[in-house]
Symmetry: C2
Subunit: 390 residues, 2 copies
């Protein structure tokens, strides 16, 4: 186990009545609120009205910044910062999923930084304060509701950059699993894949003696896997939605990092895929993660992959060699993804090999020449993983 520092100060209000806490939370921070959201979905499911009623109860004055898109854009962040400065905003409140939250995080940090907020994402500057940030979550997937990270895309060159800082932890997050009842099945499925990927990126580490966090991750993965078919079958099953919602927050809240080093190569390889082909992040991960596993299996990954197969997918220890057990675990993961209605090959997404060199080059270059920690990848290896995904 490696030495670590752990702190997560976010206050979580979880459950059917969680929204009732919003007015009290807002009142702690001030009366001038910037509301950040996407478009119509939060209005369709009634969350917008519920939020407004709470803000009214808190006697708050509200400025709205809507139009957040998937892979949220820097230009909207600039707009939000301008509103913060001009209106003396005291609380930035995100309503939505990861894109709305990440936008709000960038605004809350950028409003307290004298230079260009993009500097923060490029590591060229740092802020020493942040506006208070609140969240009402409608889509369990990205885990941003309890995480220290934010990912923003600069449109002009589609440059996507993440930033992790304690200033990104929301002050509070409202999690009502009912808000995910009306998600389209595809979005539910992509969320499940993303949540599991956050756990698996941390799971596959070369750090030894991490039994506690291994077992916590395994338990969280099994919970998501067991509850996924329930919500796919019955979208308004509260208890199954609740298990997935809480698992999604814990997946990314840095607890499961403690004492270990994650890999994150699959995430990076998927980001390039999303950028070029405009596919959903979760859908891309369902293709990339099994391919990554197949690549690392014979390169030192068999032992951990076999442990994953046995403990998460119940492959019997008597199934065969360590390698055979590991391969069976990958097969069961693919079968699970397909049971969610997702595909597990690039071919099924009508993506061919033509741009593999370009994606591999971008993914590896962005990381300074080595991608991932479980098996560090160079460009040729990254290409090989994309080809295994064909």
């Amino acid at each position: 186990m490696k030495d670590f520092v752990f702190q997560n100060p976010t206050r979580i209000h979880f459950g059917r009545n969680a929204m009732e806490s919003l007015s009290g939370e807002v009142a702690r921070y001030g009366k001038r609120v910037l509301l950040v959201y996407g478009g119509g979905s939060i209005k369709r499911i009634g969350v917008y009205d519920a939020v407004m009623a709470q803000l009214q109860a808190a006697q708050a004055q509200v400025w709205e910044l809507s139009g957040v898109q998937p892979n949220p854009r820097l230009s909207l962040v600039y707009q939000g910062i301008t509103i913060c400065h001009e209106q003396n905003i005291e609380l930035v409140l995100a309503v939505g999923g990861g894109s709305a939250i990440d936008t709000a995080k960038a605004i809350a940090n950028g409003a307290c930084y004298d230079g260009d907020v993009w500097d923060l994402f490029e590591g060229k500057g740092s802020n020493t304060a942040v506006l208070p940030l609140g969240v009402v979550l409608t889509l369990p997937a990205a885990g941003s509701e309890m995480s220290n990270s934010s990912v923003i895309t600069r449109e002009e060159d589609m440059c996507k950059r993440g930033r992790s800082t304690p200033f990104n932890f929301p002050a509070f997050s409202i999690l009502n699993p009912e808000y995910s009842f009306s998600l389209p099945p595809f979005q539910t499925a992509c969320g499940i894949v993303d949540i599991m990927a956050h756990m698996m990126e941390r799971y596959f580490t070369m750090v030894e003696h991490v039994e506690l966090t291994d077992r916590l991750i395994e338990g969280a993965l099994k919970t998501v896997i067991n509850n996924a078919p329930i919500v796919m079958e019955k979208p308004d099953d509260y208890d199954a939605r609740a298990e997935i919602t809480w698992a999604g927050a814990l997946a990314h809240n840095t607890l499961l990092d403690t004492g270990r080093i994650g890999d994150w190569a699959s995430h990076k390889l998927e980001h390039e895929l999303s950028a070029l082909y405009d596919i959903a992040h979760g859908a891309g991960l369902a293709v990339v993660f099994p391919a990554w596993m197949k690549f690392v299996l014979p390169r030192g990954g068999a032992k951990k992959l076999a442990q994953f197969a046995i403990r998460v997918f119940d492959v019997p220890e008597t199934f065969g060699t360590e390698g055979a057990i590991a391969a069976e675990g990958i097969r069961r993961l693919e079968t699970f993804y397909r049971s969610l209605g997702l595909v597990t090959t690039l071919h099924e997404m009508d993506i061919d090999q033509s741009r593999i060199p370009e994606m591999a080059e971008r993914a590896v270059r962005m990381m300074g020449g080595k991608l991932g920690g479980f098996v560090p990848l160079d460009e040729a290896m990254a290409q090989e993983i994309y080809r295994l995904a064909l």
Copy 2:
């Protein structure tokens, strides 16, 4: 799953070099520090000197309050509060295990309360502020280093009262597993039993649909069970100590409460045992918990006990009926406790049945007539559990 609010703001510095963070942490809060500890053990293992060096580096002025005993006393809390007032203390720093930390928590709260600090424990008053509290942990057991609770005993009538409040979360805790290397085997064993009890009190709930937290608890329990024989055999095994230390903090930090209601009857029954017979809390729990399990098994507890047996102690699902599987799990738990060198019956502690009615009466009365939530116990049932422990 029940609605819940969760927040744990404690900053954890974990590992071999964790102490290096102390001077920086102290500097955040001020230069006037009250140091709270027990006696010679922190001096013997060099922790006292290391703390003093850090305090010096932070240019802190230090007042010392030593003499904390197991089942920490109210009189020492009063002394600490007086020092805080007279010396304008800015940080209360506990060095030790649960007793030192709980004393420091009571002092930090009491110093910000105008009335008698005991009011806070009796629910007759409340504070609206608290002095910053820091911890250097030397004994993983009580979990107070990351918990919201504090237990203090009033000597005059040996009245033991706990209080849970967000003001009890330490601002920071320094956890170096090396500090537990020199613990006597009996203390290590008692710590392990206490840590597991904190998990099991939460595990045995009648709340349904708590799969995620069930599985997190099971994983944490398995980790402790797997690492316990290693530290009993080789007390300076860093990695095994690290697993137990981090598990001990997570056991009690309220994460494993989320969405569920714990039982805590075994803890209460043990407190009466400790109070009358002056036995160690962990040693008492090793006797009481299996007896409690035997009592609840035929009274609605078989299903959860069987799950515990299968998932934590690897009892095969084919072992027999649900009841037989559950009973085998209890047997394996007792075998585990005995492998730590502990006894599992009152008889082996030279305790007979003579004071059972008195203990049952006190335990149940303190809880207002019903003890525990998994199977609510009246006085006769509490007596029966003590008798099952004979």
